[in-house]
């Protein structure tokens, strides 16, 4: 059992509730012990970086400083299920290590509430933990359902592999592909696996977003995927909720379920779909569920 300081992020309390539910349903069985960081705040997301990056890093560092109080043997690993949270927290760690002035400035802000960031933290994406920390034989031993009729498109998105990570290649990652195979599913050829999902453009530039989202859906459809599997709440939100707009742009019809990887893990483990909140997405997963034996 490995212990992690868990940083769920704001989305898991709202639009990404199914992600939170499926994490809770799968992590304990795999020996992933997630202990929530107390009173965590916003990670300092992308939108805040545009406003003021030092303030954004200060927000990130408050979470990191609290995580450090949970350290055992002087080290602590933060687990983030959201790719945007992962990137900001991870950037904060690396940028403060590279630039002592930034770290001092951030620590000066934290001193207002009696906190201090030391730099004992490693930030990990939850997908990275499921793939690399959980031994393969443990994962295999939990599989009770057969997914061999299901073809899945592994969608990494941007911020799990960029700008910096220890997890996989920035443009041509393969570990998520291999993981879905390990779970027993077929993996669709998916050349756009690290293309941008349009992020916040869904609000500010809906026309451009429809094109970008459509590109991801089209590739999955053309390659015969039954579903796209994501590891990020914003990717899931955009791909799931704007299939009509994307279809209008590309003159196509899309009806592709968008799952979180933890939901696929749960399905393979035989956890009832209701507990994984799979039916709480916009696109119905029924056709996919019917293929699970």
């Amino acid at each position: 059992m490995t212990t992690y300081a868990y940083y769920p992020g704001c989305s898991l309390d709202a639009t990404a509730k199914p992600y939170g539910a499926s994490v809770a349903a799968t992590a304990p069985a795999l020996g992933v012990d997630l202990r929530e960081i107390e009173d965590w705040n916003c990670c300092g997301a992308t939108a805040y970086m545009s406003y003021d990056h030092v303030e954004a890093f200060s927000l990130a560092s408050r979470n990191l400083a609290i995580a450090e109080t949970m350290a055992e043997n002087g080290k602590v690993q933060v687990a983030a299920p959201c790719s945007a949270c992962f990137a900001v927290l991870n950037n904060a760690v690396h940028y403060m290590a590279d630039d002592p002035r930034l770290r001092d400035l951030v620590n000066d802000g934290l001193s207002a509430v009696g906190r201090h960031y030391e730099g004992k933290v490693t930030v990990r994406h939850l997908l990275d933990i499921y793939i690399n920390d959980v031994p393969e034989d443990v994962t295999k031993s939990k599989i009770t359902k057969n997914l061999e009729m299901v073809r899945l498109a592994p969608y990494y998105g941007c911020q799990i592999v960029r700008p910096k990570n220890e997890f996989d290649h920035y443009g041509m990652p393969t570990k998520f592909d291999d993981y879905l195979k390990l779970l027993g599913a077929q993996v669709a050829y998916y050349p756009v696996k690290t293309r941008c999902c349009a992020g916040t453009f869904i609000t500010t530039q809906p026309g451009i977003a429809a094109r970008m989202i459509g590109l991801l859906l089209k590739s999955a459809k053309d390659n015969g995927a039954d579903a796209i599997v994501t590891c990020c709440p914003l990717c899931q939100f955009n791909l799931d909720n704007f299939q009509k707009e994307a279809g209008d742009y590309w003159n196509a019809e899309f009806n592709i379920p968008i799952l979180y990887f933890t939901q696929v893990v749960g399905l393979a483990m035989g956890i009832p779909p209701g507990d994984l909140e799979i039916d709480n997405h916009r696109v119905s997963p029924d056709a996919l569920l019917a293929k699970i034996i």
Binding site: C10, S11, D13, A14, T15, A16, K17, P18, D39, W40, N41, C42, G44, A45, T46, A47, Y48, M49, S50, Y51, D52, H53, V54, E55, S58, L59, R62, A87, D99, R101, L102, L105, D108, G109, L110, S111, A112, V113, R115, C158, Q159, R162, P163, Y170, G171, R195, C196, G199, T200, F201, T203, T204, Q205, P206, I208, M212, N241, E277, N280, R282
Partner: protein, 196 residues
């Protein structure tokens, strides 16, 4: 793509702008740029921009403050970091563009095409200082009130679906972290001037 080679050269270059950029941390990147265009080639939104990322770097070096800070390029960066990881000169482009966004916001530059992204960034930051965490409903409410309330109508179907499945947090719940977040930001702003 914007006109090149005509009106642009009639403006007086503002080399103070180049100096300002070079003086900010990470700003020395503009000097390192070799104008290869790899950034523009990997950018998923380059085709929607008035100037591509490579052109923005060239404009900075030529001293065109207004054109750069009014450009929709900086606001059409979705933070996908595609350019960042392939730049042969290892320029941290995405971070560089964050700084240009901040300069544009503080300098009062308001490109109509970029205004919406700017409003979203400001409302998002304000929301975090208020609640400690993000609340999507209140963020979007404030955003659409400041931009175009009618545009919000398109999202009704999605909103209903989210509500039906219990995925909308209607009430702005103040996280316990909010008080601390407020103090940390206030402390940083007192010492402003030392902005990085």
């Amino acid at each position: 793509m914007a006109e090149v080679g005509k009106a642009i050269w009639r403006e007086a270059p503002d080399l103070g702008f180049l100096k300002e950029i070079l003086a900010m941390p990470g700003g020395e990147a503009v000097a390192a740029c070799i104008q290869c265009g790899t950034c523009s080639g990997t950018c998923p939104t380059a085709r929607d921009m008035d100037y591509t990322p490579r052109q923005v770097m060239a404009l900075i070096r030529a001293g065109y403050r207004e054109r750069v800070l009014n450009s929709n390029m900086i606001w059409l960066c979705a933070s996908c970091y595609s350019c960042y990881v392939v730049c042969p000169k290892e320029i941290k482009l995405t971070d560089f563009f964050y700084k240009l966004k901040q300069m544009a916001m503080r300098g009062g530059f308001e490109n109509p095409a970029s205004k919406r992204a700017e409003v979203l960034a400001k409302k998002f930051a304000g929301n975090i200082r208020w609640l400690g965490r993000s609340n999507e409903v209140w963020l979007l409410l404030k955003y659409f009130l400041s931009t175009n309330l009618l545009a919000a109508v398109k999202y009704t179907g999605m909103g209903l679906s989210l509500f039906r499945t219990g995925r909308l947090e209607l009430l702005p719940k103040k996280s316990k972290s909010a008080a601390e977040v407020g103090k940390i930001i206030a402390r940083y702003r007192e010492g402003a001037g030392m902005r990085l």
